[in-house]
């Protein structure tokens, strides 16, 4: 018996050795021709988006057969993707192309991980860079240099359930336009223990909160990522408005998670929902009732912080790989593919001219609600970015959550956030 086990083990060992050496031999032979690139990408919202990325990449690989092959690796949502990219960078084996949440750029720069793309962009067709919507470009640039190309991009919007509006005696075609209307409607729409008036989603509530501060004419971190501005009058007022809705009036849940609120909206648990435009396709497929999409209501102005992820190239890889990676990025963001990706995913098309693409034109003429997020871009700004952004988020979210539960006064909460965040981003 023992002999048999030994023989089997030896057999597998030897065949294993042989097959790996064969693979090595093949690799050596094909090395000068085929460049195999790794591409880490997240999917920030629900939906079969991983499949879409796979199909698009297959097309690219076919067009470049024998020269470049991009291997897309789905790496979870934004936080796990950032972790995997960071780990790979620290281990000295970065993915050639990666897409991480836009606010992480300063952290990646501090790690010396991202390639500046200016030279490549200069060489592409004229007007390529300017064709991207301005607020999307903001988060790709630091110190005058371009480090990423917008791709999977969104803004938060307000969804409203038209049937719930009817039931509450409100005009189903008139969503709230101002904070005061929002408060008024939410109060009318709230049915105790059955339906919230308005849900401001948790999980990325830091992102939604920045939008509210923008609507109030303020900002949270200076564009260079060095000065925190959390204890400004505008930010405290914005937080006080949240506390009003979530705690004092109890017309919205004080806390929730990013993944739980779209099903809540579909299930009729909430009449209005603040969430990413990226869930629009999911809602259209799942909701059994008529709903609308509109700008987030204004205080002093309409406003939003853009969100999502940019395509980036690793700095510490050979030049030929960087060039191949750029080829892939340029291809993924050409007008046709930008349109195709937007139609398939529900994300905003990142380029102006993508909206002239015939596929896109047909899509938005049938589903005009996909244009809301794009139109809101006129009032949108870049998202705050800073070094150690993961820590910034945790600090801010803690204060937002504590305030929404009435544990701490907004002014006090923002003072703590200001002190702690300034200490980590300096």
């Amino acid at each position: 018996m023992r002999k048999i086990i030994l023989l089997v083990t030896v057999f597998f060992f030897i065949t294993g050795l042989l097959s790996t050496s064969e693979i090595w031999a093949q690799k050596e032979k094909s090395k000068p021709k085929l460049l195999r690139l790794t591409f880490y990408y997240p999917v920030g919202v629900a939906g079969p988006l991983a499949r879409v990325i796979g199909e698009m990449t297959d097309k690219f690989n076919k067009e470049n057969e024998g020269k470049v092959e991009v291997v897309p690796v789905y790496s979870g949502d934004y936080d796990p993707t950032m972790q995997k990219v960071q780990t790979a960078i620290m281990a000295g084996n970065p993915p050639d192309i990666f897409m991480v949440e836009i606010s992480e750029l300063p952290t990646l720069l501090a790690m010396g991980a991202v390639l500046s793309l200016d030279d490549y962009i200069k060489k592409t067709e004229k007007g390529y860079w300017e064709d991207f919507f301005a607020p999307f470009r903001e988060n790709a640039v630091i110190g005058g240099k371009i480090y990423g190309v917008p791709f999977q991009r969104s803004t938060p919007v307000l969804y409203w359930n038209k049937e719930a509006f009817k039931a509450a005696g409100l005009d189903p075609e008139k969503p709230p336009k101002t904070w005061d209307e929002l408060k008024d409607y939410a109060t009318k729409l709230t049915v105790k223990d059955k339906q919230w008036g308005v849900t401001i989603s948790g999980g990325w509530n830091d992102w939604l909160f920045e939008g509210f501060v923008r609507q109030n004419g303020g900002f949270l971190i200076s564009p260079d990522g060095l000065k925190a501005n959390f204890d400004s009058k505008e930010a405290i007022e914005a937080l006080d408005f949240w506390v009003e809705l979530k705690h004092r009036l109890k017309v919205g849940p004080p806390h929730s998670t990013w993944g739980s609120t779209p099903p809540d909206f579909v299930g009729g648990r909430t009449a209005m929902l603040y969430h990413s435009t990226g869930i629009l396709t999911f809602l259209k497929r799942s909701a059994k009732f008529d709903f609308g999409v509109t700008f987030m209501p204004q205080k002093k102005t309409f406003g939003a912080a853009v969100g999502g992820a940019n395509l980036m190239i690793a700095k510490k890889i050979p030049k030929e790989r960087q060039e191949a990676a750029w080829k892939y990025i340029e291809w993924m963001t050409n007008v046709k593919n930008t349109a195709e990706w937007s139609v398939a995913s529900g994300y905003v098309a990142v380029r102006n001219s993508a909206y002239d693409d015939p596929v896109m034109k047909e899509h938005v003429s049938k589903n005009p609600e996909y244009l809301v997020a794009r139109d809101q871009l006129k009032f949108a700004n870049g998202k705050m970015m800073a070094k150690n952004f993961q820590k910034v988020r945790e600090i801010l979210k803690r204060q937002l959550d504590d305030s929404a539960a009435g544990k701490i006064a907004p002014a006090e909460a923002m003072k703590i956030a200001q002190k702690e965040i300034q200490a980590v981003i300096k």
Partner: protein
């Protein structure tokens, strides 16, 4: 002869020690060493700073909240899941034919589900609007709660879920222990006139002591290792009210990329756990009677 015997003993231990060494012991000592360094995004090159990380940990209010959460979790899940497991083990140890295997199977099945899958399931069970937990509570006339989304109840929700998930394993160990108690003890006790509670107090309980000690140690370790359900169900929120030690370590090491802090917390965690287990062995271990 004796020397050869000893040599073969070490020979057999070697492969195990080798892997334990490279995957457990060396990393443990490495993190103890790294805990003396500042090493994060602001300081990409590690610099030696003595015990400054430790001071920073103890000065952070969040650390104490996390510790408190974890202690609340431990002091509720351990006694509740252990007594539930013991109670049910005694119940299904009664002779009742096929019903017994049915009960045993249905009580044990939560243990067999992977924790992450179970946590996903309980996210829906606890969903305030659509979940069955609130449905049944409403049925019984209780108010509906926001569970995972409410600072007051989120940790309780995780505790409920963890007891459901863990007690089956403890129950199985108790059951094995119960079946190892010779029946003639009970017969003798019955002749002497001892019934019910007395039989449990003077025969079952002391005879089960080794199993109880084992379950206790396992329960302590698992209650401080709690991570999966927190990661899946709440991510430590709302407002850090479900943030526990391992999740806190994970945040520092892999989210904030603060490797010095992560190592410091890990070292403190290991030391704390070792002290807890040493205490248990000292206080309870001595009173356990092993029938050899």
């Amino acid at each position: 002869m004796k020397r050869i015997y000893r040599l073969t003993t070490y020979g057999y231990l070697l492969p195990g020690l080798f892997f334990m060494g490279i995957f457990t012991f060396i990393p443990v000592f490495m993190s103890a060493y790294l805990s003396l360094f500042k090493w994060n995004i602001n300081n990409p090159e590690p610099s030696f700073t003595w015990f400054s990380n430790y001071i920073e940990v103890f000065k952070a209010p969040l650390f104490w909240l996390v510790l408190r959460n974890n202690l609340v979790y431990a002091f509720t899940t351990i006694p509740l899941s252990m007594s539930l497991a013991l109670f049910l083990a005694i119940l299904i140890n009664q002779k009742m034919g096929w019903v017994r295997s049915l009960y045993r199977g249905s009580l044990f099945y939560p243990t067999m589900i992977p924790m992450v899958a179970a946590a996903m399931l309980w996210v829906w069970i606890f969903n305030p609007g659509l979940g069955i937990f609130n449905y049944y509570l409403g049925f019984l006339g209780f108010p509906k709660l926001e569970w995972l989304y409410d600072m007051r109840y989120a940790l309780i929700a995780i505790i409920i879920m963890s007891i459901w998930k863990n007690f089956g394993y403890y129950m199985l160990i108790f059951l094995a222990g119960l079946q190892g108690i010779p029946n003639h003890y009970y017969e003798a006790a019955a002749i002497e006139g001892a019934t019910g509670w007395k039989q449990f107090r003077y025969i079952t309980f002391p005879m089960l002591a080794p199993a109880t000690l084992f379950v206790f140690i396992v329960a302590i370790i698992s209650s401080f290792q709690v991570f999966d359900q927190v990661f899946v169900m709440t991510q430590g929120g709302p407002g850090d009210r479900t943030n526990v030690l391992v999740f806190y370590i994970y945040q520092h090491a892999f989210r904030f990329w603060d490797l010095g802090m992560g190592s410091t917390l890990t070292t403190l965690f290991i030391l704390g756990l070792l002290v807890a287990i040493w205490l248990v062995f000292r206080v309870i271990g001595r009173r356990v009677y092993y029938e050899v």
